[in-house]
Subunit: 431 residues, 2 copies
């Protein structure tokens, strides 16, 4: 019986696992130094958790199933609904502000393609309970702090920032009905991936008024706040949103990452729940999908039955990031196995017991120690120790047979000394 892996999933052989750990360990390290605490939820939740607020695209990509009690469940396609549920459940006792991060495994029933798999890992950071724009600045800083930690510079990646609040105010000023906003967002979100003609066509399906379409197109082509002001007379809510963004850019400048950040009105985000600043980080070449995306979602907790509590956050998947890090030569498949402290081997099968006694004692003292299952010649033993990048090789050779003496060789200096078996073990005990 030969069964393959399911398409769109990955097998993490040790080499790939080291790469995955390198990425996720970095996420954890940067989260902690930025003052976030780790949380996690279940891999599956009630199906309806994802049908209400995540937006159409995600709702269509669910792996759903029934349990034996006929409950409708789904594997999580993202962790934000779980976050909202968890915060709501303990909202009165959690210390504020809530600064949490997570590295969930998530699954989406997508057609596998470059940078998109059916199962991936997604770093999430969220700040809950802070209305001020400083929280949005901190989220963006944290994402950039990680990319910088990986070795990516302002020439490699750019955080493109806009505001749903501004966009909504301008669209409504143009005459788009409030109820049509989500549909228009979905079209605008795809603009960068479409030709001008295709964009015009798709937009026409959502907006029948050609004057509105012309204004929306002009607006989406504006590169700066000043250019936006040329398109229409900005309503107060848009002006407020722009001044908030200007404040955000000042904070990002103070944080030393202005070079990584720019205003870009084309950033809309696919998820339905954003309410304020939204952003995506892209490779400067623009060849890949977004490395990460996020924004403010002030209504989500209330929508999940909790209090009205402001929130802002971001998610970064491992697939596009890995492609980018490979493209830049920062990670490679040759990622080496970590060195070990000791390699222990014997020249004779009869020495297995002292051999494992040494390995067990070293491990018990926290040393990374590997031993040979089979005896071998001295030359072969030293070659194996070298292959495993052992700091030290302990050999049970003729000296052991004759007088219970271990040969201990420092693999770096090649210095070699003898020490009595009992003395060696006693020395470990006393450490």
């Amino acid at each position: 019986m030969k069964i393959p892996a399911v398409k769109g999933t990955r097998d993490f052989y040790p080499e790939l696992m080291r790469l995955r750990n390198w990425i996720t360990d970095g996420w954890k390290e940067v989260s902690l130094r930025n003052g976030f605490e780790e949380y996690d939820g279940p891999i599956f939740e009630y199906l309806k958790m994802y049908q209400v607020k995540s937006g159409e695209e995600i709702a269509e990509q669910l792996f759903s199933f029934q349990d034996r009690g006929d409950r409708e469940l789904a594997i999580r396609p993202e962790i934000t609904p779980t976050l909202a549920r968890m915060v709501n459940q303990q909202v009165n006792t959690l210390p504020r502000p809530i600064k949490w991060f997570s590295v969930p495994r998530v699954c989406r029933a997508e057609r596998p393609q470059k940078g998109r798999l059916r199962e991936f890992f997604q770093w999430n950071i969220d700040i809950i309970g802070v209305d001020e724009i400083i929280a949005d600045a901190e989220v963006i800083f944290c994402a950039v702090d990680y990319l910088r930690h990986c070795g990516l510079g302002a020439n490699d990646v750019v955080a493109k920032i806009s505001s749903r609040k501004m966009l909504a105010a301008m669209l409504e000023a143009i005459g788009v009905a409030h109820a049509d906003l989500q549909g228009v967002y979905a079209v605008l979100d795809k603009k960068a991936k479409l030709s001008d003609e295709a964009f015009a066509e798709t937009l026409a399906q959502k907006l029948t008024n050609p004057d509105q379409r012309k204004l929306v197109t002009a607006m989406m082509n504006a590169a700066t706040f000043e250019e936006l002001e040329q398109v229409i007379h900005l309503p107060q809510a848009a002006t407020d949103a722009i001044s908030e963004m200007k404040q955000l850019f000042e904070l990002l400048d103070a944080m030393g990452i202005a070079g990584y950040c720019k205003f870009d009105i084309s950033i809309v985000r696919g998820l339905a729940y954003y309410t304020g600043v939204v952003f995506e980080i892209h490779d400067r070449c623009g060849e890949l999908r977004a490395v990460c995306g996020g924004g403010r979602y002030d209504n989500l907790l209330r929508d999940f039955g909790g209090p009205s509590l402001s929130a802002t956050g971001m998610g970064m998947g491992d697939c596009v990031l890995e492609i980018l890090l490979r493209d830049k030569g920062i990670i490679t498949d040759q990622a080496q196995r970590a060195p070990i402290d000791y390699y222990i081997a014997a020249i004779d099968e009869g020495l297995t017991k002292p051999l494992v006694a040494i390995a067990a004692a070293l491990r018990g003292k926290g040393k990374k120690a590997e031993f040979a299952y089979k005896s071998g010649k001295m030359k072969k033993i030293l070659k194996q120790a070298d292959d495993l990048k052992a700091g030290c090789c302990i050999i049970l050779g003729q000296e052991f047979i004759d007088g219970k003496m271990l040969v201990v060789k420092d693999m770096k200096t090649t210095e070699q000394k003898q020490i009595a078996f009992g003395e060696f073990l006693a020395g470990l005990e006393n450490n």
Copy 2:
């Protein structure tokens, strides 16, 4: 809309997450020092992967679903079938022996009860390609090494060891047909949880011959190899299996963990694929389910379409382990948040930019730095720094307003000094 979590799953709030990380970080550390390399597979596989070899109990507890291509899939209830699939796929290129570990999240549609949840984490270690009993000894050592690392002694836990090979040989000698072995194993595996009467009754359903039942019961009540020899004349295969176990106990003794280990014929294991030594680690009080279990499964890779390759391993779930560690007072809910290096706050709202500049610079240099979103009085700031267990508190106070001087307070020595803002940042840059 208020949606609860699904029964039998856990929400890992930061406090619980720290406990989970403490457990899983220990698993990883001990695996690495014992020479194992980490791997992982997908959270779901083809359903049939789990229907063939995992045994009836697991096949009944699957969360299964169809994807949009009508493929029958299931969330993994264990990782061993994935391991067999992965090793088979690259069996010709993987360096031998294969010593791998994993810490998969697994799901089983069980009725939630003490120590059993529908989603949990399971440490797995496996050695593939080593026929000799030394590999079984290493697996048991590694499990004990972890429990010892947690602070559990030989008075707290015991590894109960038996052999499927011995059991099969004896049952066949008694007259049990080879085809009936799996059914009888399932009954024997439950013996410890049943009264003598209930056991006799259940056994009678599998074995109609009362003489056979009497012998099987006498056999299962034997405490030592010597007592076993009194029950029946041991066939050669049983004698061989016993001498292999004796060798195993000698190796475990050489490894310094004899006090943790004993022969126990009642250990049979539920999974269908075991072929040799089997073991479980239990709390000495015998109040909980097994903390871990494992054994040799020499046919599994072949059964999954690969070559005949010997294998031995074990799995340890986090649920029973957590109960035991709590019972022994080794872990508590009060597990503290890790200290931070710096806490930075200002006495005036106007100082936000220099505030975030300092935080950003410290974080960029790898320091754990947290800052206050809102300005506050000196006393409150120091209280917050104390609550966060900050090593150092940086205050932007009157000194900053007057002359750009930072107040830097060592929270341990309470020593306080002033340093110019620019000088502080430049100092970080040059580090």
